[in-house]
């Protein structure tokens, strides 16, 4: 095996990692790293130096707009994933968490509450049975005298509890003293399991859940494996993946690689008694060995070399503590390595059994609390690597205690950062017998066994989560090797290329490339009803669980197929096509922008570099608004909703950032579209019959029963209400959409009812936010209504010349205002004209009798032009009925405000409207009043 004649220069130091103050978002860009003199054999035309990070690489372009489902959905799997909202206290400030200064607060009380409600028999069974004679829950009084002494009436308490339930999520809800007293009294004896003990257990469990929510390493290595075709000529390989209700079924599915990969026949299926965490495979002597790891069991299957052969299970081992790693030897048939959380590393041979190589609960190089261990094979079949979070050690299985060397250390040796930890080590034997890949949460390292401790290549990958999955596609005859990295929570997928290791030193070639995530196919699926859309979104953004890649040649066209497994058991794939070298580095951006595809509601559609970018917060707010409105819920729990929508693209609920632009192909090909449909149909069909559909996890709702009584509601519009109810019921029965919320055969404008009831008035005012203005005077509104009606009529009569005049007046609005204020009358600021119109003391005209005023002589004498006199007369005739009331009805403008436009949009245009509406009054002082 050749070793590169010269390596790239680098410093070498020992000791702990130097402090670099956390992750850098752009750490992987722009560096050449180092340079090295080119090989002497090269032509003169070549530049004399080559960089560690070269920009020339093979060009692979995605063939589809998004990932495409390969297999039918795993319909059994409906278990919803735990979210932070389930675990954390609502409204607790989590910002400190990010800085690492303080932890989150776990809401174990909520979990306890759920337990009490869902399993009352388990929680209070025996005491409930004992006491149920003594508690009276009915509405009536306790009649029997004998019973009266031993029975307590609990009706009020129950009602109080119901009230509480109704106000769930209300920021102002308070516990009543009665409830507090009761809980105080019965805390010690009511529960089946002592409350403190139960709470302790729940808290402990929540801690575990929270830890796995933050970072779950149980799926390290990935549960998807590709068994390549028998020989180069055949195109049929096999995918091995978990599925089923609890991901406890192991499937071997034949897949034919053509233009598009397709499944052939039914998969061979094995049922296991545990959730499958990892599937590892290797080919030795023409036979595939597949290792399967669940928490407490590891098994190995053999796939014989003959075509049409069936996989056969060989052996199963059981562990006391959860296993963290299972790898299959690429050198010797039936040999695997197993690690457990207790710190033990075993070499597992099918024939000779288990051999413990190492047992050390402590970590290798410095103290780290993680019990995670990993082990893999190396170029020497008897030498195994043992890894924990602090580094990697290689040891000889023949003399594990004495023969070992340090292979990788988190420290200055590899120029690590503080806090950096090993996430996944992987032997790259298929690319180069001596190479090793080590990923950490910040960077990837390429190591050569012949030069331990010094990485031959390092690159900061900048992924949002630690890469738990990796696969390598070896490049033959001088071509670059492709390394794929995948994360679990964020479904990120990155393609890197590197060359070297034999004659030349290792080089990273070409810019790294992001591939489609599973969630990226959501916009390409056929349009769905909101509930189903929500379901799909949840389904597609479930964390990834595995990754496999294969290079494949179809005629002249080379393609790279990448398979992805989600934790729900769905398998997706994407194809990358190799592009011929002439256009060495293709600028895809130019092409993509030639045909921009704005996506509705997609922030990414904003033109690049537009100033709107920095106002994104406002956009987000608007988005929230529309979100509220499109929901049918009466009140949406504000805080939780905010938490979901405010999240930047990186939030796992929508792992694909909204920023994602569409690459060259924008729409899925017909074949892909068909696959989407075919995948969707069984999924939705299964969902309808599943228990999950019965409890859609939408935003929490609040009962409206306690806000208005039925009587009050019925008064508003008895018919309409009935109809709404009917329609709603029917829609719910059909699981359909409520398309027209307004079925009422009402005329578009409400009839000028002479007796509008008090409730509607209150509601109208409430919409306008003018609680204070609602006085007991019902007649006010009546008069205002009449006035509005009259004015409308006048307007219709008026020539449009006046209209234009009113516009000019609106322009001079501000100046007039200032004139007004000069006049010494106190006014509220113009920013809230409506409020001003109602609340400011009406600037009552001098108490002159209307009759006198109305006479034309009087008007003339006051210098009012002829054309204005009639208007004024009409106006004043209304005044005559109630001279104490303000002349303008707030309802005309308040009516506009009922349209739920955000308050912040009270822009100049609406101001001008308002001013034109209130024009007559402002003109008055000039008219000589």
């Amino acid at each position: 095996m050749e070793f590169p004649g010269a390596l790239f220069p680098s410093y070498f130091g020992c000791g702990p990692p130097r402090d670099e103050g956390g992750p850098a978002l752009a750490a992987g860009w722009g560096e050449r790293g180092e340079v090295l003199g080119a090989r002497p054999g090269r032509r003169q035309a070549q530049p004399p130096f080559v960089p560690l990070r070269s920009h020339e690489g093979e060009s692979w372009t995605p063939a589809e707009a998004a990932a495409v489902p390969l297999l039918p959905p795993n319909v059994g799997c409906w278990i919803p994933a735990v979210t932070p909202q389930d675990i954390l206290y609502r409204g607790v400030l989590h910002r400190k968490l990010r800085t690492g200064r303080s932890g989150a607060a776990l809401d174990f009380a909520k979990q306890l509450g759920h337990f009490f409600v869902d399993h009352p028999e388990d929680a209070f069974g025996s005491l409930g049975r004992l006491l149920h004679k003594n508690f009276h829950l009915g509405d009536s009084r306790v009649r029997k005298r004998s019973a009266r002494d031993t029975t307590i009436r609990m009706t009020t308490l129950v009602e109080k509890i119901n009230h509480l339930e109704a106000r769930r999520g209300c920021p102002q809800h308070q516990f009543t003293s009665r409830l507090r007293l009761f809980s105080h009294l019965c805390r010690d004896w009511l529960f089946e399991v002592p409350l403190e003990l139960l709470a302790d257990c729940v808290h402990e469990e929540l801690l575990l859940q929270w830890a796995s929510l933050l970072f779950d390493d149980s799926s390290t290595g990935g549960a998807l494996a590709w068994l390549p075709p028998r020989d180069a000529s055949s195109h049929m390989g096999r995918l091995v993946y978990p599925g089923g209700l609890a991901m406890n079924h192991l499937y071997f599915q034949d897949v034919v690689l053509e233009e598009q990969p397709r499944a052939r026949g039914l998969p061979v299926q094995f049922e296991l008694n545990g959730r499958i965490r990892q599937v590892a495979a290797a080919r030795v002597d023409g036979q595939d060995f597949v290792g399967v790891r669940s928490d407490y069991h590891c098994g190995v299957w053999r796939m014989p070399g003959k075509t049409g052969a069936v996989p056969s299970p060989l052996q199963v081992i059981c562990t006391d503590v959860p296993a963290t790693c299972l790898t299959v030897s690429p050198h010797l048939s039936g040999e695997l390595s197993v690690c457990t959380q207790s710190g033990a590393v075993y070499l597992w041979n099918i024939e000779t059994g288990l051999q413990r190589l190492r047992h050390d609960p402590q970590t290798l190089f410095f103290r780290d609390h993680s019990p995670w261990r990993w082990s893999d094979f190396t170029a020497h079949p008897r030498v195994l690597s043992c890894a924990d979070r602090t580094g990697i050690l290689c040891l000889d299985a023949r003399a594990p205690a004495s023969c070992h060397f340090d292979f990788f250390k988190v420290g200055e040796e590899a120029k690590c950062q503080q806090g950096e930890r090993v996430v996944l080590p992987m032997y790259l034997g298929r690319a180069h017998p001596c190479q090793y890949l080590v990923t950490t949460q910040f960077a990837i390292y390429l190591l050569d066994e012949r030069l331990p401790l010094v990485p031959v290549l390092k690159w900061a990958h900048m992924m949002k989560a630690p890469p738990l999955f990796a696969d390598v596609v070896p490049g033959e005859s001088g071509r670059s090797h492709k390394v794929l990295l995948g994360t679990s929570q964020t479904q990120e997928l990155l393609l890197l290329q590197y060359t070297g290791g034999r004659q030349t030193a290792c080089q990273l070639t070409g810019p790294p490339q992001r591939l489609h995530s599973i969630a990226s196919c959501l916009p390409h699926l056929p349009a769905q009803l909101p509930l189903q859309h929500h379901l799909l979104q949840q389904r597609l953004s479930i964390p990834a669980a595995g990754l496999a890649a294969v290079q494949h040649e179809q005629g002249q066209q080379e393609s790279l197929m990448v398979f992805q497994l989600s934790e729900a058991g769905d398998v997706f794939y994407q194809t990358l096509r190799h592009e011929a070298p002439p256009t060495s580095v293709l600028d895809q951006g130019d092409e993509a922008e030639a045909a921009p595809t704005p996506n509705e509601g997609d922030e990414a559609a904003a033109p690049p570099g537009s100033p709107a970018l920095f106002d994104s917060d406002e956009e987000e707010e608007e988005e929230e608004q529309t979100f509220y409105l499109s929901n049918l819920e009466v009140i949406i729990n504000d805080e939780e909703e905010e938490e979901e929508t405010v999240g930047t693209p990186a939030a796992p609920e929508e792992p694909e950032p909204r920023a994602s632009p569409k690459p060259a192909p924008d729409v899925p090909s017909p074949a892909a579209a068909q696959r989407y449909r075919r995948w969707l149909r069984p999924l939705l069909r299964a969902w309808v019959t599943s228990p999950a559909s019965l409890c859609p996890s939408g935003p929490p709702t609040l009962s409206q029963r306690r806000l208005f009584t039925h009587k009050e509601l019925a008064e508003v519009a008895p018919n309409a209400l009935q109809q709404h109810k009917l329609q709603l019921r029917q829609a719910m029965r059909e699981r359909g959409c409520i398309q027209r919320w307004e079925p009422a055969p009402e005329p578009p404008t409400p009839p000028p009812s002479l007796e509008p009831n008090a409730l509607s008035a209150r509601l109208t005012a409430a919409w306008g936010g003018e609680w204070g203005a609602v006085g007991p005077a019902g007649s006010t509104l009546q008069r205002q209504q009449a006035l509005r009606e009259r004015r409308r009529r006048q307007k219709r009569n008026r020539a449009h010349r006046r209209l234009s005049a009113s516009f000019t007046s609106s322009v001079t609005y501000q100046s007039e205002l200032s004139e007004l204020s000069e006049g010494g009358t106190p006014r509220t600021p113009p920013a809230t004209p409506q409020v001003a119109a109602v609340c400011s003391p009406p600037r009552t005209p001098p108490p002159i009798s209307t009759d006198i005023l109305l006479s034309s002589q009087e008007l003339r004498s006051r210098g009012i032009p002829k054309e204005r006199r009639r208007t004024l007369r009409d106006y004043l005739s209304v005044w005559a009925e109630g001279p104490q009331d303000p002349p303008e009805a707030p309802s005309s403008t308040a009516g506009q405000r009922c349209i739920p436009s955000s308050q912040s949009q009270l822009s100049s245009s609406s101001q001008s409207q308002l001013s034109s509406a209130s024009q007559p009054r402002r003109k008055r002082p000039r008219m000589g009043f």
């Binding site: 956390g22 609390h369 012949r450 938490e643 609920e653 632009p661």
Partner: protein, 440 residues
């Protein structure tokens, strides 16, 4: 979970690069700052996305917006916006189809003035870029300029970067020196008398030597610099110094165990006709560090020729060790070395215990690793001579009933190849040797 103790229990098990945003919420008190920070982060994620999808133009447009973040740079983080802009800008300019070296230079010059802390790093990377584009002279100027830079007290990192800058300048001096040397050699010996050229070369040598000598004292991987420095010293006849440098580079315990260091030393010794003993001891150390190194074949040949028993024994050990590695699994040369030596031993019937000793630690896995029936088939199909050598070894080590030997010899006889027939005969004749090796 003992690790999850109070205090730090609620923090991730791993220091995560980016905690998902929905895990924490904004506070209203410093909302303005937060908004700016948020939009900055959003912009950066757009840039990142464009870069990862090779949309250089789009990334460039976003970057122009991102430059605004410089205005309110009150960050104390390790990598401030100035460095990010430098990194992202460089990446875009390197890949953009319509960028040229002039634009690149002017961008980098601006970047140099932007971040004082990273000045040296930017200079170094600029020089690398120029070098990779064949602009050696410009790179040299840049490096000299950077070398004269002074700013306050230097940090450890800056000190390292400065040393690297000097080393690379030394390397470029060496390059121009070797160019002149080539010219001189091309025009014959009379050129050497041309004093001006010789003096110039001497000047280059001095400049290069000073800088290169500095860097190779510091622990690290300096293959390039060591090679150049040794070349210079050798040309001017300073073999002692060259030897010291190479010895230090190979055997200083502060340096990483770099196989190349041993290779250079070995090659130096070979060039200067060092005694066999020192060559062997050099390679012995290399064997201990990297048993799978390609020089081990030469080492084995050298040892086999030796008359000392001890060395021949070592030779057998070396070749066995080489074949332990999967990279050598199908190497005909290595197998023929082993076959030859094993055959010799078997014929002489002496030192069968050497084979036995080597075989003992391998007999439980070599049969599956090297001599399975599947491999017999495949080797026969792909490389007849490989299967011949392997069959010989298998026949001796595992006896004539071994699957590999049986298959290959059967196929060989069927194909009527003479040497396979003699192979079969040889193994049959020496089956007692097998018995002794396997300890039966």
């Amino acid at each position: 979970m003992e690790g999850l103790r109070a205090g730090r229990a609620l923090q991730p098990a791993l220091h995560l690069p980016f905690l998902p945003r929905h895990f924490y919420r904004a506070v209203s008190s410093n909302e303005h700052r937060l908004n700016f920070w948020k939009s900055k982060e959003l912009c950066l994620s757009y840039i990142q996305d464009a870069l990862l999808r090779k949309q250089w133009k789009r990334a460039a447009e976003f970057l122009t917006s991102y430059i605004e973040s410089l205005e309110k740079d009150f960050s104390t983080v390790f990598m401030g916006p100035s460095e990010m802009i430098w990194r992202i800008g460089t990446e875009i300019l390197c890949n953009h189809s319509r960028s040229n070296i002039r634009e690149f230079n002017s961008f980098i010059e601006q970047m140099k003035t932007l971040g004082v802390k990273r000045y040296l790093k930017v200079c170094l990377e600029h020089a690398f870029h120029l070098l990779c584009n064949g602009l050696v002279d410009e790179a040299y100027q840049n490096l000299s300029l950077a070398e004269s830079w002074r700013f306050g007290e230097q940090t450890v990192l800056q000190d390292k970067e400065m040393k690297l800058i000097q080393a690379y300048r030394g390397l470029l001096d060496y390059c121009s020196w070797s160019n002149q040397k080539n010219i001189l050699l091309e025009y014959g010996k009379d050129g050497l008398e041309d004093l001006s050229v010789a003096q110039e070369m001497r000047a280059c040598f001095r400049k290069a030597a000073v800088n290169l000598k500095e860097i190779i004292k510091i622990p690290g991987v300096w293959d390039l610099f060591v090679k150049s420095y040794v070349d210079l010293l050798e040309f001017y006849g300073d073999h002692q110094e060259a030897r010291e440098v190479l010895t230090d580079y190979a055997y200083n315990s502060k340096f990483p165990a770099n196989p190349n260091a041993h290779v250079y030393f070995y090659q130096f010794l070979k060039r200067h006709g060092a005694p066999k003993k020192s060559l062997i001891s050099t390679l012995k150390i290399l064997h201990d560090i990297v048993p799978s190194h390609e020089l081990m074949i030469d080492f084995n040949a050298m040892l086999q020729k030796s008359k000392k028993r001890k060395r021949r024994r070592l030779g057998l050990e070396v070749i066995f060790a080489v074949l332990d590695y999967s990279g050598w699994k199908e190497n005909v040369k290595a197998w023929s070395c082993l076959a030859r030596q094993v055959k010799q031993i078997v014929i002489s019937e002496k030192h069968l215990d050497w084979i036995k000793e080597q075989w003992n630690s391998r007999k439980d896995w070599w049969p599956a690793f090297h001599f399975s029936r599947y491999l017999a088939k495949r080797n026969w199909q792909e490389d007849k001579s490989l299967s011949y050598e392997k069959a010989l070894v298998a026949g001796i080590l595992l006896g004539k009933d071994c699957k590999y030997f049986k298959y290959v010899s059967h196929q060989g006889c069927k194909a009527r190849v003479r040497r396979f027939r003699t192979l079969k005969k040889f193994v049959n004749e020496h089956s007692p040797a097998y018995l002794r090796i396997s300890g039966l």
